[in-house]
C-alpha cells in the first residue's frame, strides 16, 4: 500500500508548483493542473479502498491497521517523538475517499465558478494546500502528527475564507475563524501534553489498544478538581474537536466563514474540515469509551443540544449559505451525538458505525447543497433568499440535484441520508431516550428548514431578475450530477460490513419502528414547509409576529455573536490588553524613567558641593576638624 503516499504528495506538489509560479502560470492552466492532480489522488484513494477492503486479508475477521510509512520527525525525549506516517484503517480509508472525491468535484466546479476572479492561481494553490493538510490529518499515525495537520488545515481555511481579502467582512470572518479554532486548539494541545505525559506516547496504535486505554484508565485515580486526569485530558482534546466541528458555544465562526468562495464552503466548511472533530473522537474512541465514559456522555449531550440549537436558528436565516451553515452545524452535532451514545464492539458499537456512515453520506449531500447554492448565487448574483423565487424554470439541473440533496438530508428513503440518520436514531434510542427525542425533533426541523429553503428559492413568486438567470456550463453541473448520484446510492452501501468500532463486520438492520417514526416526522416537516412556503404568502410573517421575541432571538442566532464579541472586545481588549499596555508604559517604564530622573535630581542637588571655590572648601575643612576635635574630647 506504499502508493498511498502519492495521495498526499500530489496535492502538496501542486501547491508548491502553482503557488511558486504565481502569475507566470495561466489561470486556466492552474485550474486544469489542479483538477488533474486531484483526479489522480482520487483514483489512488479508490484503489486503496478497494485493496484494503477486498484484497487485504482480515485476521479473525478484523480489518488490520496498516502502516505503510512511518518515520521519526522530531524526538523530544526517550519516549516521546513525533513521527510522520500513514495509518490505514477503515475510517482513514473512508476519509481518503470522501476528501479526494469532494475535493475533486470542487476543483472541477471552481474552474468555472472562479473564472472571472482575480487570484485564480492563488485559489487553486490554497485548495491544494488544504487537500494535502486534510489528507495528512486523517492518515496521521499519532496524535501530534494529527495536531500538526490540524493546524495546517486551520490556516488553509483562514486563507480561503479570506480569499477576497479586500472585502472587510471576509477578512473579519477569516480572523474570527482562525482565532476561535486556535482557542479550541489550545485545549487540544494541553490535552495532548497531559495524555502523553501519562502514557508516554503519542502513537494512536498504542494509545487505542486495550492495554494503553488501561494506562490512561489507571491515572483515573489521580484527580484534579473532581475529574480524573484522564477525563481532563480527553475533555481538553475534545475541545479541540469541538472548535473545528463548530460545537456550541464554539460554533460562531462557521456561519461567518461563509464569506469565503462558495466551493470552499462546500469543501472545507461542509464536507471535510468541520468533521475533523468527529474524526478525532472516532480515532480515539477506545479511550473515550473505556477510560473516560463520563467525557463521552458529555459529548453526547453537547452534540444533542447543538443539533437542536443550530436547527432552530437555521429556520429563520435569510442568507442561503447561512441556512446551510447552521444545517451543517446541526448535522455534525448529529454525528458527535451518535459517537456519544455508542458502546464498543459489535452491535453495541452501532452509534460509532452510524456516525461514520452519516459523515460519509453527509459529505456528499452537503457538498451538493453548497455547490447547488453556488450555482444559484452564480445565476442571481445574490445570497439573500428573499430576493429569489421561481428559479426551477431557469436552473433545471440545479433544481433537481438540489431537491435530491434536500430529500437526503431530510431523511426520506431511499436517499442516503435516510439510512445513516436512521442508524443514529436507533443507536440513540437504545442508549438514552432524551437524546433520542431531541434528535427526532431535530430530524423534523431539518426537513422543515431545508424545504423552506427549497420552496423559497425554487418555487414561490417568480421575480424579475436584472440578468435572466441561466444554468451554468457543464463544468459546474457535472459535479452536481455526480454528487447527486452519490447521494442517491451511497445509502445502500452495507456500511457495517466495513466500518465498526472494533473493525469487525457486523450486521445492522433497519429498525422499522424507528424508521417509520423518522419518516413521519420528516414528512410532517416537509408538509409544513409546503403549506407555508410553496406559494408566497404572509403566513410565515404572521407566525413570526405571533412568537415575536423567540423569532427575533433565533434570527439573531440567540445573540451568541454578541456575547462573544463582548468577551473579546471588552475582556481581552478593554480589561486586559489596554490595562497591560498602560501598566507597562506608565508603571513599569515609569519606574525606569523615574530612576533616571531621580538620579539626575540627586546630582543636581549635590553638585553645589563641588563648586570649585577654595574658601568654601576651607570652611568645610575647618568645620570638619572642629567637629572631630569636639567629638573626640567628649567620647
Amino acid at each position: 500500500m506504499n502508493f498511498t503516499l502519492y495521495i498526499l504528495i500530489i496535492p502538496i506538489a501542486l501547491f508548491l508548483l502553482i503557488g511558486l509560479s504565481g502569475n507566470k502560470m495561466k489561470p486556466r492552466m492552474a485550474g486544469i493542473i489542479g483538477t488533474l492532480g486531484m483526479t489522480v489522488s482520487a483514483v489512488l484513494s479508490y484503489l486503496a479502498a478497494y485493496i484494503y477492503f477486498f484484497e487485504t486479508e482480515k485476521i479473525n475477521g478484523i480489518f488490520q491497521k496498516i502502516v505503510p510509512l512511518s518515520m521519526e520527525w522530531l524526538r523530544f525525549t526517550d519516549k516521546l517523538h513525533i513521527d510522520m506516517g500513514i495509518l490505514l484503517d477503515p475510517i482513514s480509508i473512508m476519509m481518503l475517499v470522501v476528501i479526494t472525491t469532494v475535493s475533486l468535484m470542487v476543483h472541477l466546479y471552481s474552474i468555472a465558478y472562479m473564472k472571472e476572479e482575480e487570484g485564480f492561481q492563488r485559489y487553486f494553490a490554497f485548495l491544494a494546500l488544504f487537500s494535502f493538510s486534510m489528507l495528512g490529518l486523517v492518515v496521521a499515525t499519532n496524535i501530534f502528527q494529527m495536531y500538526i495537520f490540524w493546524e495546517l488545515v486551520g490556516v488553509s481555511s483562514y486563507l480561503l475564507i479570506g480569499f477576497y481579502y479586500t472585502k472587510p467582512t471576509a477578512v473579519a470572518a477569516a480572523k474570527k475563524a482562525f482565532i476561535v479554532t486556535r482557542f479550541a486548539d489550545l485545549g487540544f494541545l494541553i490535552g495532548i501534553l497531559i495524555l502523553s505525559y501519562y502514557t508516554g506516547t503519542f502513537d494512536f496504535g498504542i494509545l487505542t489498544e486495550g492495554s494503553a486505554a488501561l494506562v490512561v484508565g489507571s491515572t483515573a485515580g489521580v484527580s484534579f478538581m473532581g475529574l480524573s486526569v484522564a477525563s481532563w485530558a480527553m475533555a481538553l482534546v475534545f475541545i479541540g474537536g469541538a472548535g473545528k466541528s463548530a460545537m456550541f458555544p464554539l460554533h460562531i465562526w462557521l456561519p461567518d466563514a461563509m464569506e469565503g468562495p462558495t466551493p470552499v464552503s462546500a469543501l472545507i466548511h461542509a464536507a471535510t474540515m468541520v468533521v475533523a472533530g468527529v474524526f478525532l473522537v472516532a480515532r480515539m474512541f477506545p479511550i473515550y469509551v473505556f477510560a473516560t465514559p463520563d467525557v463521552l456522555a458529555m459529548i453526547g449531550y453537547i452534540g444533542a443540544f447543538t443539533a437542536l440549537f443550530a436547527a432552530v436558528i437555521a429556520i429563520t436565516q435569510k442568507d442561503i449559505k447561512r441556512v446551510l451553515a447552521f444545517s451543517t452545524i446541526s448535522q455534525i452535532a448529529y454525528m458527535l451525538t451518535a459517537l456519544g451514545v455508542s458502546g464498543f464492539g459489535g452491535h453495541d458499537g452501532l452509534g460509532y458505525m452510524a456516525s461514520m456512515f452519516h459523515l460519509f453520506t453527509h459529505a456528499f449531500f452537503k457538498a451538493l447543497l453548497f455547490l447547488g447554492a453556488g450555482a444559484i448565487i452564480h445565476a442571481v448574483h445574490n445570497n439573500d433568499i428573499t430576493q429569489m423565487g421561481g428559479l426551477r424554470k431557469y436552473l433545471p439541473i440545479t433544481h433537481i440535484t438540489f431537491l435530491i440533496a434536500c430529500l437526503a438530508i431530510a431523511g426520506i428513503p431511499p436517499f442516503s441520508g435516510f439510512f445513516s440518520k436512521d442508524e443514529i436514531l436507533a443507536a440513540a434510542f437504545h442508549h438514552d431516550k432524551l437524546i433520542f427525542i431531541t434528535l427526532w425533533i431535530v430530524a423534523g426541523l431539518t426537513a422543515f428548514y431545508m424545504f423552506r429553503l427549497y420552496y423559497i428559492v425554487f418555487w414561490g413568486k417568480k421575480r424579475e431578475y436584472e440578468h435572466k438567470p441561466h444554468e451554468a456550463s457543464w463544468v459546474m453541473t457535472l459535479p452536481l450530477i455526480i454528487l447527486a448520484l452519490f447521494t442517491c446510492f451511497s445509502g445502500f452501501i452495507p456500511f457495517s460490513k466495513f466500518i465498526s468500532s472494533d473493525n469487525q463486520s457486523f450486521a445492522a438492520h433497519i429498525d422499522w419502528t424507528i424508521a417509520t417514526l423518522s419518516i413521519v416526522v420528516a414528512f410532517t416537516g416537509i408538509c409544513l414547509a409546503t403549506l407555508l412556503y410553496r406559494r408566497e404568502s404572509n403566513r410565515p410573517a404572521e407566525i413570526a409576529q405571533r412568537i415575536g421575541g423567540f423569532y427575533k432571538a433565533t434570527l439573531n442566532k440567540f445573540y451568541m455573536d454578541e456575547i462573544w464579541m463582548f468577551v473579546t472586545k471588552n475582556v481581552i481588549f478593554k480589561y486586559i490588553s489596554y490595562p497591560v499596555a498602560w501598566f507597562d508604559k506608565h508603571i513599569v517604564d515609569g519606574m525606569i524613567n523615574q530612576t533616571g530622573k531621580q538620579t539626575e535630581n540627586a546630582s543636581v542637588a549635590i553638585k553645589g558641593m563641588q563648586s570649585g571655590k577654595v574658601q568654601f572648601y576651607a570652611i568645610v575643612f575647618v568645620l570638619g576638624v572642629l567637629l572631630i576635635t569636639v567629638l573626640s574630647l567628649f567620647i
Binding site: 525525549t77 481579502y165 480572523k175 501534553l193
Partner: protein, 478 residues
C-alpha cells in the same frame, strides 16, 4: 589559530578597510563581501563541527587558549559546542541579510555595524568569563551610536535608555562574574575549568540571581524589558534586525551558558522566582502587543513574549526544554529579523509605521505582503515554519517537569499561542487586507532585488528550521 578566530579577524579587517573607503557604495560592497565571508565561514564551521564531533567527544571543540593578561590569568580562549555553532550561524545569517536591508547607509554606519558584529561573534565563541564580558560590552556600545545617529523618532532618548538599562544589567553581570571568580576556588576564568568544581552553595545563592538578572535584562526579562520597545522603534532597520535577531539572544545564551551551567544547584532552588517572571513576560508581552498601533512596538512586545519563552524554557532545567530554548532562539532570531526587515521596507515606502494608516497593501506590494504573512504565520506557530517546533519542544519539555506549579505555569505560557494569533492576524488585517485607503499607497513599488535577498534568505532559514527540526535539535545536543 583555529577556525573560530576567523569570526573575529574577518570583521576586524573589514573594519579597517571600511575606514579606508571613500564613498558609500565602496563601503557597502566591502560590507557585503565581508559578511558573505562570515556566512560562508559559519556554514563551513557547521560542517567541520559535524565531522569533528563524530570523532571527538570533548565538551568544546576547536579550542584555542592563549594567555592574554597573565597577571589576572585572563586567557583568550575560544571553543564551540552545538549550541554556539548554531548561534554563530544565526548571527552570520542575520548580519548578512541586515546589510541588504540597509542599502542606503553611509560608511560610518557600516563601521559601527561591523564593530557590533565583532562583539556578537566573539561572545558566542568565547569560553573565558572575562572575554565573554568584554565582547558583551563591545556588542552593546555601538548600539548607542547606531540608534542615536541613524535612528528615527525620539532617538536620543531611546538610545540613552537602551544603553543605560543594558549597562545597569552588565553591572550586575560584572558583579556576578567577579563573584564566580573569587568563590570558585580557581584562579581561572575559563568556564570549563570553573565547572570542574562546585561553587559553594551559599555563594551561589547570590551569584546566580545577579548573573541571571544581568543577562536577563538583555533577554527582555520582565520588568526590565522596557528598553526594547523604545529601542527597536527608534533603531534603523538593520540595527533592529541584528538587535532583536541576535543581540537579545546573548541574554538567553548567557543565562544558559554561564548562570545555569556554572550554578545548577542554585538554579534548581531559585528557578521558581525567575520562572514566574518569565511566565509573566510570555503572557504580558503578548497582551501588550495586542493593542499597539506601531508596527515596531507590536514586534518589540512580541519579542518580549517570545524571548520570555526562551528564558522560561532554559529554567525548566531539562534537556528537552533547553533544546526547545535554543530552537526558539534560532526561530525568533530569524523571524524577528524578517519582521524588522519588512517593517523597514514598508516604512521606507509608506513613511509610517502606524497600522491604522496602512491598508490593503497586499494588492499593491504582493511580494512584501506575502513575506509578511509568512513571518506572521511563523510567529503564531504554524507547523512547517520555525516557531511551531520550538514552542512544541518547549511545552513538551516543560510539561515533563514534575509538579503542579510547573504544569500550571506551562499552561499559562501555552495560552500565549492564542494571544499571538490575535495580534498577528489583527496586524495583517489592518495593513495588508481590506481596500487601499490611502491613495498615495496605490503607487508603491514592491521589494527591490536586494531587499528580496534579505527576506528570502531569512524565510529559507525559517522553513529549513520548520521542516527539518531534528537536524538542528541533534546539533544542539551534540
Amino acid at each position: 589559530m583555529s577556525i573560530l578566530s576567523t569570526f573575529i579577524i574577518v570583521p576586524a579587517i573589514l573594519l579597517l578597510l571600511l575606514f579606508l573607503t571613500r564613498n558609500a557604495i565602496q563601503a557597502r560592497t566591502l560590507a557585503i563581501i565581508g559578511f558573505s565571508i562570515q556566512l560562508v565561514a559559519a556554514i563551513y564551521l557547521l560542517i567541520s563541527f559535524l565531522q569533528e564531533r563524530a570523532i571527538n567527544n570533548d565538551a568544546m571543540l576547536f579550542v584555542t587558549d592563549i594567555v592574554w593578561y597573565a597577571k589576572l590569568n585572563i586567557h583568550y580562549s575560544v571553543g564551540v559546542d552545538g549550541v554556539s555553532v548554531l548561534m554563530v550561524l544565526l548571527s552570520a545569517i542575520v548580519a548578512f541579510t541586515g546589510i541588504f536591508s540597509s542599502w542606503d547607509m553611509k560608511r560610518d554606519f557600516f563601521m559601527w555595524y561591523t564593530l557590533l558584529s565583532i562583539g556578537v561573534f566573539g561572545f558566542f565563541i568565547s569560553t573565558d568569563l572575562f572575554v565573554i564580558f568584554m565582547f558583551y560590552e563591545i556588542a552593546l556600545i555601538p548600539m548607542y551610536f547606531l540608534i542615536g545617529i541613524w535612528g528615527t523618532g525620539r532617538k536620543e532618548y531611546s538610545a540613552m535608555k537602551l544603553t543605560l538599562m543594558l549597562m545597569a544589567g552588565s553591572a550586575f553581570l560584572l558583579t556576578g562574574i567577579l563573584g564566580i571568580y573569587f568563590t570558585s576556588g580557581h584562579t581561572s576564568m575559563n568556564l570549563l575549568v570553573i565547572k570542574e568544581t562546585v561553587i559553594p552553595i551559599m555563594h551561589q545563592y547570590w551569584i546566580f540571581p545577579v548573573t541571571f538578572l544581568g543577562f536577563g535584562v538583555l533577554g527582555a526579562l520582565f520588568p526590565f524589558h522596557t528598553w526594547s520597545p523604545d529601542g527597536h522603534a527608534s533603531a534603523p532597520t538593520a540595527v533592529s534586525m541584528l538587535h532583536a535577531g541576535v543581540l537579545m539572544k546573548l541574554g538567553g545564551y548567557g543565562c544558559f551558558r554561564v548562570a545555569i551551567y556554572l550554578m545548577p544547584e542554585a538554579a534548581t532552588e531559585l528557578a521558581w522566582i525567575f520562572l514566574i517572571l518569565t511566565g509573566i513576560s510570555v503572557v504580558y508581552g503578548a497582551f501588550g502587543a495586542v493593542v499597539q498601533t506601531d508596527l515596531k512596538y507590536i514586534n518589540a512586545y512580541s519579542s518580549v513574549s517570545h524571548c520570555g519563552l526562551v528564558l522560561f524554557a532554559v529554567l525548566m532545567l531539562n534537556q528537552t526544554a533547553q533544546t526547545g530554548a535554543v530552537l526558539q532562539m534560532l526561530s525568533h532570531g530569524l523571524m524577528t529579523a524578517l519582521f524588522f526587515a519588512l517593517i523597514g521596507l514598508l516604512y521606507g515606502r509608506t513613511h509610517t509605521r502606524d497600522i491604522r494608516e496602512m491598508s490593503g497593501l497586499m494588492k499593491v506590494i504582493p511580494f512584501a505582503s506575502v513575506c509578511y504573512v509568512i513571518a506572521g504565520l511563523a510567529s503564531l506557530g504554524l507547523p512547517g515554519l520555525s516557531g511551531f517546533v520550538a514552542e512544541m519542544t518547549i511545552f513538551v519539555g516543560a510539561f515533563a517537569k514534575q509538579g503542579v506549579f510547573y504544569t500550571l505555569l506551562t499552561i499559562v505560557a501555552a495560552c500565549s499561542i492564542v494571544i499571538t494569533a490575535v495580534y498577528i492576524l489583527r496586524t495583517i488585517a489592518f495593513i495588508l487586507q481590506g481596500p487601499v485607503k490611502n491613495e498615495l499607497h496605490l503607487k508603491l513599488d514592491d521589494a527591490t532585488w536586494y531587499e528580496k535577498i534579505s527576506v528570502v534568505g531569512l524565510i529559507l532559514g525559517i522553513i529549513a528550521l520548520g521542516i527539518f527540526p531534528a537536524f538542528f535539535a541533534n546539533i544542539i545536543n551534540m
